[in-house]
């Protein structure tokens, strides 16, 4: 399977250096750029967290979920549900709350989907995500145990104020930017740690050959369910940040295009090492921005039809760059090194 072959689990020195340079660039960015681009960069970082959470399933465990956006959306909707129109809510309980809520949903859905394999897994994850999508899309309000929950239907819900962190002011754009950057770095380090823990080794073993892992005595169902739950929780963190950043949640956050974009980000960057997911998220979002900004060609509004360019781009990547940008970078850097040596 190409999933197994396309791996770059151990990042070479050159790529690690590239990551550190990237981190420095991200830290310097808000000081040299306009607010508009800093906000765009913050959104990219949030999507990078989301893509990393999917990579734990897709790149590490070999489970391709086409419904991962469900948990991203739950994180965002959690924030909108606990937010009030006039007051702020504390970051210190709502953020863990969003992560837990998404993880809980992932645990329940995972219980059903993790039993399935391969293409079934793809279809079933998508179907479950779609179920949540329609729950939100079709209902302005639902009541849970007599408590009215405002979902906003297809219009979505505005979140007027950012969460209150007490120690620092998230309403300040720069502060929010650095808070997001800190989350990105922490999630990356955490996932790298997980990847090289005994738990992560079992997940990687499941990707390569699940039957063998079971024969070795590992309860693969439990491991896969744990990975699904963890990935769901981290996706919820990303969704929470997204809701806070954009001040708006709508059903599209849970939609299947969002899930497919996350898959694309992971593939584009390179699977199974989390650094690729970050690179892929930035590259994918930047391209999306470029396509949407495309100038008119004669009477043809190229920017309005950005999906056409995106579609063709995806087809080309799948056909020609199955190892992603990081794989490409690694090859280029290595060949240069060989010339020098």
């Amino acid at each position: 399977m190409s999933v197994a072959k396309s791996h770059l689990e151990v990042l070479p020195r050159s790529l690690q250096l590239l990551l550190v340079l990237g981190l420095i660039a991200l830290a310097a960015f808000p000081f040299v750029s306009t607010d508009f681009y800093a906000a765009m960069m913050a959104r990219m970082m949030i999507l990078a967290i989301f893509a990393m959470s999917l990579d734990l399933l897709q790149g590490v465990t070999g489970l391709v979920s086409l419904g991962h956006a469900a948990f991203f959306g739950i994180g965002g909707y959690f924030l909108s549900l606990v937010s009030t129109d006039s007051g702020t809510v504390s970051l210190w309980w709502t953020l863990p709350g969003a992560v837990l809520a998404s993880a809980l949903f992932a645990l329940v859905i995972g219980f059903f989907v993790v039993r399935t394999h391969g293409i079934y897994f793809i279809m079933v994850t998508m179907a479950f995500a779609q179920m949540l999508f329609y729950l939100v899309f079709d209902n302005k309000e639902v009541s849970l145990l007599g408590l009215p929950l405002r979902l906003g239907g297809s219009d979505g819900v505005y979140i007027n104020l950012k969460p209150d962190a007490a120690l620092f002011d998230l309403e300040n754009r720069k502060v929010f930017y650095f808070f997001t950057l800190a989350c990105l770095v922490l999630v990356y380090l955490f996932l790298r740690r997980v990847l090289w823990s005994p738990f992560g080794r079992v997940l990687a073993g499941i990707r390569v050959n699940e039957h063998r892992m079971r024969a070795l005595g590992y309860g693969t169902f439990g491991y896969k369910l744990a990975a699904f739950t963890l990935a769901g929780g981290l996706a919820g963190l990303a969704g929470y940040l997204w809701g806070a950043q954009t001040g708006f949640v709508n059903p599209e956050l849970m939609g299947f295009h969002m899930s497919a974009h996350a898959i694309m980000m992971v593939i584009l960057g390179g699977m199974g090492n989390f650094a690729g997911a970050i690179v892929g998220a930035f590259a994918f979002e930047y391209l999306l921005h470029l396509f949407k900004d495309a100038p008119d060609i004669g009477g043809f509004r190229a920017g309005k039809h950005w999906q056409l360019w995106m579609g063709l781009f995806i087809v080309l990547v799948v056909a020609f760059a199955p190892r992603g940008l990081l794989g490409l970078a690694e090859r280029v850097l290595r060949s240069k090194g060989e010339h020098r040596g």
């Binding site: 399977m1 190409s2 999933v3 897709q58 391709v64 086409l66 059903f112 989907v113 039993r115 399935t116 391969g118 293409i119 079934y120 793809i122 279809m123 079933v124 998508m126 179907a127 479950f128 779609q130 179920m131 329609y134 729950l135 079709d138 299947f256 497919a260 898959i263 694309m264 593939i267 039809h305 999906q307 056409l308 995106m310 579609g311 063709l312 781009f313 995806i314 087809v315 990547v317 799948v318 056909a319 199955p322």
Partner: protein
Amino acid sequence: MDFSLFLLQLLNSVQYGLLLFMLAAGLTLIFGIMGVVNLAHGSFYMLGAYVAWSLSSRLGSLTVAILLGAVLAVAFGLLLERLLFRHFYHRDHLDQVLLTFGLIYVFEEMRSILWGDDVHGVNIPATLGASIPLTENLSYPVYRLFMSGVCIALALALYFLISKTRLGMKIRAGAFNHDMTEALGVNIKRIHAIVFAIGVGLATIAGMIAAPISSVYPNMGSQVLIMCFVVVVIGGIGSVRGALISALLVGTVDTFGKVLLPQIAGMLVYMLMAAVLLWKPEGLFKQ
């Protein structure tokens, strides 16, 4: 629920189920025989509906539009198979998912460029516009019966083709053991092309005949794709018989759900799917 209302819902269930079957059969055949996951299957349904609208408003006849559209659809399917899908038979499922997801975008925008983003209605042909009385206070539109008739006829044709003809024998052999069948001198590439064209044809025809009932609108492809996934997962991938039974089941649950339990109607079929997965993770009729 009185008897005539029950009868009405039952007929609608069967009609919706049969329509879903047309789509799910193509999806499951393409997967079962070629091992290709086709997310763009719903797009063919959408394109079918738009072609039916576009042709029928120009030609003035839905029947002619459907016949012409079916020929175009099969030609389009064959072309697409040759140019693109053929190179992805042996690739990873993930690559196929991405390829066909990219195609969804391409088809959606082609639709937007060619036909715009408005919702359109398609007129029911005058000869099929009547209703026939079923009970004292209930009459049923002929067009819906016609739709069911077309679906049943195509289902029977498909059954006959696969289980009774020489071509069908080769298709089944190819699905069972690809290399062995090729070694025996069967042109498996041509078999694949034919199966793909059949799948595309069924999805497009489903879109064309559904156009007057559901009207023609941009998102119709992805909505129907997800229903197809549910049908295929419940029925078991690769099983055409499973697809038929599960499509009827899903059609019934969805139609009656909307009448009896409107609050959770949108989620009922997914609950059904979850229940089946708990009981049989590989679907009801996994081959």
